[in-house]
């Protein structure tokens, strides 16, 4: 009842850790069997290694957190040589998150990673708010996002999911542009740009000043965007932003997501992903749903299943 099939991804369940919140799986792999997961979206890869931003890199906010990690990663080559082989031991599809400063970086990184057999799909991160160069145009100008998507699609051996930024006036325009450019799916949402100021130092808490807001606080924004976009595109959406429990997963499906990713909640409860996977069947039964795919977009689909009235 939890199986989900998306371009390039045959998932035993629709729950995956979100990029950047799970590194390359080694740490959580010490706590539970990663094969329980629907998939793993690994930390952003760039062509060259990156050290990321100075610390402090995280700050707590009401019902959320800010991060400005700055895409720290060992670079595509080391990810391929050192991280992916270890992940091959698990029965879990890997989605590689790709970032860069120039289109050419993205393209080269996408090519390399998509050729690796462990990688089943790419997630094109055009939305990282925490890097100085590049990023911002890719994630906010539909034409630029479309061009990048097309270029990456041209070299990628695997389906490409484009991860959208919520920091835009018109999320539907962004989604439609990358769909038209050939995206196989969407990931929504990345973090909202935010800031917290320390009253003692009177300066921003984060060394990078601004950071990306994640966690429960942003869920209503993400749900709204998934709801709007899913009605306008045909490609599937991996929904994310503030998921904490199985109810939140169902809310994303109702909004129009076909799978979900969980970021910040892993920090609050490291077992949250397997816990949710375990709780979902019971939750679905209570809703008289035998297949989670039935729920996709139910909040806006005009015609609901016959037995829906009994659910109210």
């Amino acid at each position: 009842m939890l199986e989900v099939h998306l371009p390039g991804l045959d998932l035993k369940n629709p729950v995956m850790p979100a990029s950047g919140c799970f590194a390359f799986g080694a740490e959580y792999g010490r706590l539970y069997d990663l094969s329980k997961l629907g998939a793993i979206i690994i930390k952003a890869a760039t062509l060259e290694p990156r050290f990321g931003n100075p610390t402090p890199r995280v700050a707590e906010t009401p019902g959320g957190m800010l991060n400005a990690i700055g895409l720290q990663n060992p670079g595509a080559d080391k990810i391929i040589s050192q991280e992916l082989p270890r992940l091959a031991d698990y029965d879990v599809p890997i989605i590689a998150n790709i970032a860069g400063s120039e289109m050419s970086d993205y393209v080269a990184t996408a090519k390399k990673l998509s050729e690796n057999p462990v990688v089943k799909a790419l997630e094109l991160n055009i939305s990282c708010p925490n890097v100085k160069h590049g990023g911002i145009m890719f994630g906010t100008v539909p034409e630029v996002a479309a061009e990048l998507t097309a270029k990456v699609k041209a070299v990628s051996k695997k389906p490409v999911y484009v991860k959208l930024s919520p920091n835009v006036t018109d999320i539907v325009a962004m989604a439609e542009a990358v769909e038209a450019a050939g995206a196989d799916g969407l990931s929504m949402i990345n973090t909202l740009l935010g800031m917290r100021i320390d009253l003692k130092t009177q300066k921003p808490v984060l060394a990078n000043k601004t950071g990306g807001l994640s966690g429960p606080a942003i869920k209503p924004v993400a749900i709204r965007m998934v709801y709007e976009v899913s009605q306008k595109v045909k490609i599937p959406i991996i929904g994310m932003g503030g998921i904490q429990n199985a109810d939140d997963v169902i809310e994303y499906f109702l909004a129009g997501a076909s799978a979900v990713a969980i970021g910040t909640a892993n920090f609050v409860d490291p077992f949250v992903c397997p816990k949710i996977i375990e709780q979902l069947p019971k939750k679905l039964e209570a809703l008289h749903v035998t297949d989670i795919n039935e729920l996709v977009g139910r909040s806006w689909r005009p015609c609901v299943k016959k037995n829906a009235s009994s659910l109210r």
Partner: protein
């Protein structure tokens, strides 16, 4: 874990005793636990709070933590009542290495709420036959804690910034005259830097603080730069590579 004791031992400084199976897994002094202060259905505060393990009683399966009530999370923590339960993840990180042989003399330098993990360390060192000297700095008399506990383990020099207890001054004021083969320090960054400058030619281990996300190595929130510019990774994670490092391994800035 079950809260078996909770009391204010100095101004805004609390001693918290937690009982549970985790105690058996503690392998080194200087490891920490990551505490979820909010209830399981609350989102304030959202993140866990890292607190060092001060000491462990494996027979009673009990950990002692000492923390300062400062912000939202520790204020909540201070309200937790004996008999209730606290969601603690751990033991996390790598602590102070306790030499298995070659007992000798050790210097322990602590400042403020950097002092707690050093108590567990000192107990281990003394158990191994070390002669330990403690230099502990606080802001003021009202902030001093565990003076007696440390005194029973070895020479203990207390300093306060305002001179209201022990000597007036900073911990670094008294290090020059002391004799030791290895040093261990925990406290605010400026103190650690000053100690690093004073302790030369002998191993120095320091415990670092950094704002954390996951606490287990996955989010890269808590990194510090490796000192060796040719280091393969270039960084260390405080939560799992540390919080204790050899002083020359990481950059203090």
């Amino acid at each position: 874990m079950l809260i078996t004791g909770h009391r204010e031992i100095a101004d805004n400084i609390f001693e918290l005793k937690l009982q549970g199976d985790m105690a058996a897994e503690v392998s080194q002094p200087g490891q920490f636990v990551h505490i979820r202060v909010s209830g399981s259905d609350s989102i304030t505060p959202l993140l866990r709070r890292p607190i060092s393990i001060c000491s462990v009683d494996k027979k009673e399966k009990e950990l002692t933590l000492i923390y300062r009530r400062s912000g939202l999370g520790t204020e909540r923590m201070a309200r937790a009542e004996k008999g209730s339960r606290l969601d603690a993840l751990g033991p996390l990180g790598h602590g102070f290495p306790v030499p298995q042989e070659d007992a000798g003399s050790a210097l322990i330098v602590g400042g403020g709420v950097g002092v707690p993990p050093l108590y567990g360390l000192s107990r281990e060192l003394v158990k191994k036959g070390f002669r330990v000297t403690h230099v502990l700095g606080f802001r003021s008399a009202k902030d001093v804690f565990y003076e007696q506990e440390f005194a029973t383990l070895g020479q203990t020099i207390i300093l306060t910034e305002d001179g209201t207890s022990g000597q007036k001054g900073l911990v670094t004021d008294v290090l020059d005259g002391l004799n030791y083969e290895a040093a261990f320090a925990c406290g605010p960054l400026p103190m650690l830097k000053a100690v690093k400058n004073k302790v030369t030619g002998r191993p120095l281990y320091i415990s670092l603080e950094q704002r954390m996300g996951c606490g287990i190595g996955a989010c890269l929130a808590c990194v510090v730069r490796a000192s060796d510019t040719n280091d393969g990774k270039g960084y260390r994670r405080v939560c799992c590579d540390g919080p204790v490092f050899k002083a020359e391994e990481v950059e203090l800035c």
